[in-house]
């Protein structure tokens, strides 16, 4: 299992469209993906879970990924977060 923190950088935060892109990307990997904010941990492949985190700009999210493609998954998701979830 590997873990890494990312910061939400896009203006609108982890809103529905951004969360949808995250879940899309996460769904491409076999590994189990967890996303945590403070004490709340949700399934990274659940859009409802991500929305519940209500992560505004500046929020720090802790990713923990476990599985045979965990390294690729982490790289892809960290990259997505760094690019502001592809928000225009």
């Amino acid at each position: 299992m590997i873990a890494q923190s990312v910061t939400v950088v896009n203006a609108l935060g982890l809103h529905a469209r951004a969360a949808a892109r995250f879940v899309h990307r996460a769904g491409q990997f076999r590994s189990r993906i967890r996303v945590a904010r403070d004490s709340q941990t949700v399934d990274g492949k659940s859009i409802l879970g991500l929305l519940l985190l209500a992560a505004a700009r500046g929020t720090v999210l802790d990713l923990s990924i476990d599985g045979d493609d965990e390294a690729q998954a982490m790289a892809a998701l960290v990259d997505l977060a760094a690019r502001g979830f592809e928000d225009p």
Partner: protein, 587 residues
């Protein structure tokens, strides 16, 4: 688990029944039931199929929106698609079906409720909006569980009886489609004795209790429920003692029924030998056998609008289907008369949206007004009736007439159609007297038609300004208000002076005490729910017309309904002592 818990509501259709609870809420849009082991697989399959269908629909919408509106707008549907496959949602629904053994509709509602709670608890306005997206997906998924079908009707078809339907409210359109050989009792949170659904179940001999407030929350799906539609009692998970009591009541009812059966062939007559005609009201044409069983002299009121309830959502029912229905009904009753009331449906009934709710009565285009306004619908029904007329003795009754001119217009319209149909037989045309305006002008209306029929339900409603579906007003619905009695007296006098046939066909006619008073006011013909005929017939045999005429005269000058009740108290007491109804006359 609630055991042997007793609730008391308003008993509106007599009889007893015991069965398993099916709970239906949101005007039967959602059904709750506990599944058997084999039912679990069926429901999981249903969920899977609905999910596939929902996904296809959302993909199509998303493609269309991205092409016509823009990609940004289509993204919301992409999010909805992800919600559809979300482990917190559909997997949870599936788990609820498996572990709690509940049907898919119910499981879906519970899962949505859980998520909604979490989303709204977070207190974020933005998040609450996302709950809206979720509700949107959930609603679509639920509709796809039983596409194009009424969930309760569909569900009852799959279950084994005996069942008791526990509903917040049950619309007549759903009630008319239910399989009442499986549903043996009805319990509703709201309702009144004159609601169309209650009229329907009473005519089917199905016990019903209404006005329980929160029966749908107290009674759990799958629980055994005992219903007594006379006392208004509902017992959840009845113990041995309650079960024994219910069996006793069933056998008492059967014995009383046997005794009444002996009167079947005897004509209805008062103690002083005045002949009274007792006809039956009918809602569903196929139920005509019940009318014959009780020895009705004819059908005094066939509520044809129930045909619309069984029609597709559009509310349309074609002429050929109508002709066939009328033909069979007329043939089954021949040579006795069948009075068909033309569609008495408000505007909302003609629109598919009516099924979604909006049951409150409105002053819209009703009855003969609607007929004159949308005359193609009316013409179609008249053509169907005239085409069937040769199969028996048909009478046509116009609902909701408010003036002599309206009756004259409708009659002229019918005459036009008669000319179009070669060899159409002459058919008697009558008018319903069911609004105060018609009661006040009954004599003039009588001169335009062949017979009059009094609709007491609406007459009371419009005289006292009571919306019958508003439970807050149910206590004010009072047939014995002197204002109502005075209007009834005017109608009876107009009928006698005109020499035209006159009968009473509202719910008042099913109550022996009311019938006695109506005889006193001068009425000699009644049409009622079939089950009431033997009861009324027996009661009439103990009524002396001169005595009840005296009572009626006193009632007409009474100052309040309470005073009228007091006047009738001795008669009521005598009637309730079963088998001793004859004694009150000699007191």
């Amino acid at each position: 688990m609630t055991r042997n818990l007793r609730l008391v509501g308003r008993g509106v259709a007599a009889g007893t029944a015991i069965g398993r609870a099916v709970v239906a809420v949101r005007d039967a849009g959602q059904v709750r039931y506990r599944l058997s082991a084999s039912g679990v697989d069926r429901e999981r399959q249903r969920l899977k199929a609905a999910r596939t269908e929902t996904r296809l629909q959302l993909e199509e919408i998303s493609t269309r929106v991205s092409r016509t509106v823009g990609q940004a707008q289509a993204a919301i549907f992409a999010a909805q698609l992800l919600m559809l496959d979300d482990p917190m949602f559909t997997a949870r629904v599936d788990a609820l079906i498996r572990t709690e053994r509940i049907n898919a509709d119910w499981a879906l509602d519970r899962a949505l409720g859980e998520l909604r709670d979490v989303f709204t608890r977070e207190g974020d306005a933005w998040l609450r909006e996302r709950a809206g997206d979720l509700a949107d997906v959930g609603g679509r998924l639920q509709r796809n569980l039983r596409p194009g079908r009424d969930p309760l009707v569909d569900f009852v078809r799959e279950l084994d009886g005996p069942l008791i339907v526990i509903a917040d409210e049950l619309s007549p359109s759903i009630a008319a489609q239910l399989d009442w050989t499986k549903v043996r009792g009805l319990v509703c949170d709201v309702g009144s004795p004159t609601h169309h659904t209650v009229i329907l179940v009473r005519s089917l001999g199905i016990p019903a209790v209404v006005g329980l407030g929160s029966a749908t929350q107290i009674i759990l799906p799958g629980q055994t429920v005992a219903v007594d539609g006379a006392t208004g009692e509902v017992v959840i998970e009845p113990g041995d003692e309650a079960l024994t009591r219910w069996r006793q009541r069933a056998s008492v009812a059967e014995a009383a029924h046997k005794k009444l059966d002996e009167l079947r062939a005897v004509p209805a007559e008062t103690a002083d030998g005045v002949r009274i005609r007792l006809d039956a009201n009918l809602e569903i044409a196929e139920e005509v056998a019940r009318v014959n069983d009780v020895g009705a002299e004819g059908i005094g009121l066939y509520r044809s609008e129930f045909l619309l309830d069984r029609a597709p959502a559009s509310g349309a029912v074609d002429e050929a289907t109508q002709t066939e229905t009328y033909r069979r009904l007329l043939a089954a009753m021949a040579p006795r008369p069948v009075t068909v009331r033309t569609f008495d449906a408000g505007e909302e009934r003609w629109e598919a949206t009516a099924r979604a709710g909006g049951h409150r009565e409105r002053f819209g285009l009703r009855g003969v007004r609607a007929a004159l306004h949308h005359d193609d619908r009316f013409r179609g029904q008249i053509r169907a009736l005239l085409s069937a007329a040769s199969s028996g003795h048909l009478r046509i009754l116009l609902p909701f007439v408010t003036s002599a001119a309206e009756a004259r217009h409708a009659r002229a319209l019918i005459a036009d159609i008669v000319r179009e149909i070669p060899g159409a037989p002459t058919v008697a045309i009558g008018a319903m007297i069911e609004v105060p305006a018609a009661a006040l002008m009954a004599e003039h209306i009588a001169s335009e038609v062949d017979f009059l029929s009094v609709g007491t339900n609406d007459l009371i409603q419009y005289t006292l300004v009571i919306d019958r579906t508003d439970e807050r007003l149910s206590g004010h619905y009072e047939p014995l208000e002197p204002s109502v009695l005075r209007l009834l007296r005017m109608i009876a006098s107009a009928g006698r002076r005109s020499g035209k046939d006159l009968s009473v066909c509202g719910e008042m006619a099913a109550d022996p005490l009311m019938v006695a008073l109506l005889v006193g006011l001068g009425f000699r013909a009644f049409s009622m729910t079939p089950a009431a005929i033997p009861v009324v017939k027996r009661a009439l045999r103990a009524v002396d017309t001169r005595q009840v005429a005296r009572l009626a005269r006193e009632a007409l000058v009474a100052g309040s309904a309470e005073d009228v009740h007091a006047l009738l108290a001795p008669l009521a007491a005598a009637m309730s002592e079963e088998g001793q109804t004859a004694s009150w006359i000699n007191r």
